[in-house]
Subunit: 134 residues, 4 copies
């Protein structure tokens, strides 16, 4: 069980949403940032480098936005929908396009297959959290 | 002149928007992240600590979102409005509420006055960039 | 299994060290950053706030250094000991002092107990990686 | 004047070192992170892409370590040499090798010339702060 999940119930929080949905989004954002950093590095080692440029770019942006999303969602005591909702929307959008691009390379590069999976999970977890916040 | 501003014209970019507006948003996000990290630390040293808790929390979230916004805006060769627009909206929202909270403490704490100013500038620069992207 | 661990063997890497040790350090740094961000927020909600200031400060620094360490270790294709070793040393040092401070509050605050555990694991995993790199 | 410099004297700090040296290191780390993110993106747009891979990699690691260094140095109220010194050493080392690599491309790519300059300044500012802390 992740630390985010364990700490979730140890103090009062402002974000009144199902524990499982919140923890899933935090963990998925953390996993996705990790996968994108690793996949970006692996892409840079591939012989078909010029075809990987879009994937390299998207992985960097995806890692940055997932890292910020994970941090903001992990601060449970305060929650401002005007901040949190568009951040989640941005995270869903970058995970979708990064996941799409990684999926295009998944057959040729195993690391892209793993990263596509991480992006899909993060996109879904953040979308489900967004839906629950509505 | 900031490095962001100097590098802006050295290669082809996707984001077709006025140079000055883009560089202003990148620089303001960088300055605001720096101010928020420093103000957060200064807040933690104040004797009226319990009154500073909201300011401490907002500064952390503001620093995280400004850092992500600065990075995403600095990657000029690709631009996806579905990612960039909500990220800028999130940045405007956190800079507004962090700036409001810092302004409440500005008379008592000089560091909050500086941070409020950084938040206002970043809110404005990101809003102007958002308006130009419409 | 973490994405770092899955991607570890999908391409050629410069860092010739046992897979398990490397993946353990990456995962522990990721977990520790997550725990420190959450614990910091929980600390700010506690009634004995003034006693928690040191813990709040250390958690922020620990999260920042663990995040950088995780990213640098995840880039496997290149490795410069002049960069990686002192970064790991810095990570070991902050995890030790943050873990010590969290442990002092562990009986009173469950979130600090979880965070102390995350810090101990990261300190140990980074130390073991450092020892293996010698 | 940067916000770091303005906030430096607004509260009591643990790090007893010349204001100018400290502010110079914080500002240089911030500038260098910004330059490295922008240069990395510009590198990815160049036709001689395969020759730029090392530069692309180093810029990412340099940005990550400079961002962490800037944050840790900006927290003035507490200072632990066991954490700060190796972090500065790591920052000096990555700025040196990233600066060297950028300098190799400076004649062909203006963005690399700017980034090399940012790396040199950060290397020097962090080294001077390290020397003063001895």
């Amino acid at each position: 069980m992740s630390y985010a999940r364990q700490i979730l119930n140890t103090y009062q929080r402002a974000l009144k949403v199902d524990n499982g949905l919140l923890a899933a989004a935090i963990d998925a954002a953390s996993d996705c940032a990790q996968a994108c950093i690793a996949d970006n590095d692996a892409d840079l080692s591939e012989p078909n480098l010029t075809e990987m440029v879009m994937c390299i770019r998207l992985c960097m942006t995806c890692a940055d936005i997932c890292t910020a999303t994970e941090a903001v969602l992990s601060r449970l005591a305060d929650h401002d929908p005007a901040v949190g909702r568009p951040l989640l929307e941005s995270c869903v959008a970058i995970c979708r396009s990064c996941g799409d691009e990684c999926a295009r390379h998944a057959q040729m590069h195993e690391h892209c297959r793993f990263c596509a999976e991480a992006c899909r999970r993060c996109e879904q977890a953040c979308q489900e959290l967004l839906d629950a916040l509505k």
